[in-house]
């Protein structure tokens, strides 16, 4: 296996094809590869199939911009800064994007199964819910579970008996996305990945995927990152491409580096509840801007310095968050 190549964001994202299956690092509004999502939109990628442990600002934007055909996950929103994923809701209600629902544990296990090299995992999660209602097996209803789509399992789930201890449970199918785009704090030149703070479901997402683009706050020498191998998450032979791009998760937060830019996300949420609003936002923040440096200029140094994390805590102590701060 060839060691991963370091490249710029544009070239890294250009490897992704229309129709590919994608997943991401992070959790809701934390450590999302936002710069990569902007670039996907800038390059006009279409018909993407997203399978993610949970959604957030990154996927709501990508969906709103018309890049996505199928979204398999359990949740989307912007936490405190936007109660729902309004772009997904609008696109789904217009019949432009198909949602396949799983519960959080189920979709996590789909990714974990992919990372383990097994075709499914058993679970008791979310038995007795409409998530398992055959009526809502949307990919099945659309005839996509006929075995002709290698990344789409032939069943949404299966009910099974436990022959070892008795009882009954379900199996959820593995997923192996074509690509994981992960934003992390640090990567070695040879591809050794370090994630600091909560790792969310990054290990499963990265290891389940056939190809992995890592966008990192910092690229360091392998000698440095290997001084503490117990702190590293994934080795270079599971990584395809490396991009060094500080602030690349903005407006989502990155433990130890910067805070979530809640004000930015809230403005995004407020402005993009209509398609017109989303289109205007995309024009202003993506198409009217040549690259990510111009984006950061537009965000402004004052904002960036306000959200920069205090090293003692891993989060910003300067940001005003509540109404009484």
């Amino acid at each position: 296996m060839a060691p991963p190549k370091q490249m710029n964001l544009k070239d890294a994202i250009a490897q992704i094809q229309d129709g590919d299956m994608l997943t991401f690092s992070g959790f809701t509004i934390w450590r999302r590869p936002m710069a990569a999502v902007y670039e996907l939109i800038r390059q006009g990628r279409k018909d993407l199939h997203l399978v993610e442990v949970n959604g957030g600002t990154h996927s709501d934007l990508l969906i709103g911009a018309g890049c996505v055909k199928i979204w398999e996950s359990c949740w989307i929103g912007h936490e405190l800064f936007g109660k729902i994923g309004a772009n997904l809701a609008r696109k789904a209600e217009a019949g432009e994007v198909v949602i396949e629902d799983y519960s959080h544990l189920q979709i996590l296990y789909r990714m974990a199964a992919g990372s383990m090299g097994v075709p499914y995992l058993p679970t008791y999660a979310s038995l007795g819910t409409d998530i398992l209602n055959p009526k809502y097996d949307h990919l099945g209803q659309m005839g996509l579970r006929d075995g002709s789509h290698p990344k789409i399992p032939m069943k949404k789930y299966e009910v099974v008996k436990d022959p070892f201890y008795g009882g009954e449970l379900i199996h959820v199918p593995a997923v192996n996305p074509d690509w994981c785009i992960a934003h992390v704090q640090m990567i070695g030149e040879g591809g050794t990945v370090r994630v600091d703070g909560q790792v969310y479901s990054d290990e499963e997402a990265i290891k389940a995927s056939d190809n992995v683009i890592v966008v990192a706050e910092q690229v360091v020498t392998e000698e440095y990152i290997r001084r503490e191998p117990t702190r590293n998450l994934v080795a270079g032979h599971q990584i395809t491409s490396i991009v060094e791009l500080p602030w690349g998760a903005h407006p989502t937060g990155c433990f130890g580096c910067y805070e979530t830019d809640g004000s930015f996300i809230n403005k995004f949420f407020t402005r993009t509840r209509t398609q017109e609003g989303l289109d205007a936002w995309v024009q202003e923040w993506i198409h009217d801007i040549p690259d990510f440096n111009a984006y950061l200029e537009k965000v402004g140094i004052e904002t960036l310095e306000t959200i920069r994390a205090n090293p003692a805590f891993g989060y910003s102590t300067k940001i005003k968050r509540g109404t009484r701060a």
Binding site: F27, W30, I76, V98, H104, Y124, D130, E204, R324
Partner: protein
């Protein structure tokens, strides 16, 4: 200075304060508690400062027993892991849930029925083209299914307390057994993983609990509300035969903790 243990009067607290306080009182000392963003964070924080100092809080994103000195705005927040026992990920904490280690969980929802089935997926007709899409299940369905006890915090409205929710996202006491879909007791569906289910629903008007048959009944109404007002804001007939009177209001000490220790910045308590 007021006695910290004295009860406040209705004009001295907001509805959200009572929600947080009532929720915190559901925590038994030593409980392992699964909590989400917002009110649950206030509730578990308050419980640890009052009756349940040894309660352990697990957040879905992958932290165990953090002791934030600055209130997180979400469970993925960097603040969650300050003085935490473990900072890991979803695979760790969801496995703990499935292994049966979670005693209590706080959850929310858009709609609920009398059996504690909750909808957070879609309103109206659901399908390939949904009528009105909501956020989706998140961990709600997993947690409600696998924790020993769950407590829901919800807004009391007729359109939210329904005879039948539009989509069962989160499993209550009577649920469909798939692939057939016949409605049976939760125990029959969860078999070896059955550990309990919805314990209470706390709204801005009262506290509901569940009887031996898994049916919701009104336990207490909040100061300023009434049995009648609650029935008027409930889409099904509420069992009021077990009402025990008013929900005890917050104490001065509880309010002080909420506003000055837990959320001094006014993130959730503006």
């Amino acid at each position: 200075m007021k006695n910290r243990h004295a009860l406040t009067h209705p004009v001295e607290f907001k509805p959200i304060d009572l929600l947080a306080v009532a929720a915190s009182r559901e925590v038994t000392d030593g409980d392992v508690v699964f909590a989400g963003t917002g009110l649950p964070m206030l509730a578990i924080g308050l419980a640890q400062l009052t009756g349940a100092p040894n309660a352990v809080c697990i957040y879905e994103a992958g932290s165990v027993d953090g002791h934030p000195i600055s209130l997180p705005t979400s469970v993925g927040d960097a603040r969650c892991i300050y003085q935490a026992s473990i900072a890991s990920g979803l695979f760790d904490v969801f496995n703990q849930l499935q292994r049966g280690l979670v005693d209590l969980a706080f959850l929310g929802g858009a709609e609920v029925d009398r059996y504690g089935n909750v909808n957070t997926t879609g309103m109206g007709t659901y399908g390939i083209v949904p009528e009105k899409r909501l956020t989706g299940s998140g961990g709600n369905s997993d947690i409600n299914g696998l924790a020993k006890k769950t407590v829901f915090i919800m807004v009391q409205e007729k359109r939210r307390f329904k005879e039948k929710v539009d989509f069962i996202t989160s499993p209550g006491w009577k649920i469909p057994k798939w692939p057939g879909g016949e409605i049976v007791d939760k125990k029959e569906v969860y078999n070896n993983a059955f550990r309990g289910g919805p314990e209470a629903v706390i709204t801005n008007m009262g506290v509901f609990r569940f009887d031996e048959n898994g049916e919701m009944y009104l336990s207490t109404y909040h100061p300023g509300s009434s049995v009648e007002e609650i029935q008027a804001n409930c889409g099904f007939e509420v069992n009021v035969s077990r009402v025990q009177g008013e929900t005890p209001p917050p104490t001065y000490g509880e309010l002080d903790y909420l506003y000055n220790t837990i959320d001094p910045e006014g993130i959730f308590l503006s």
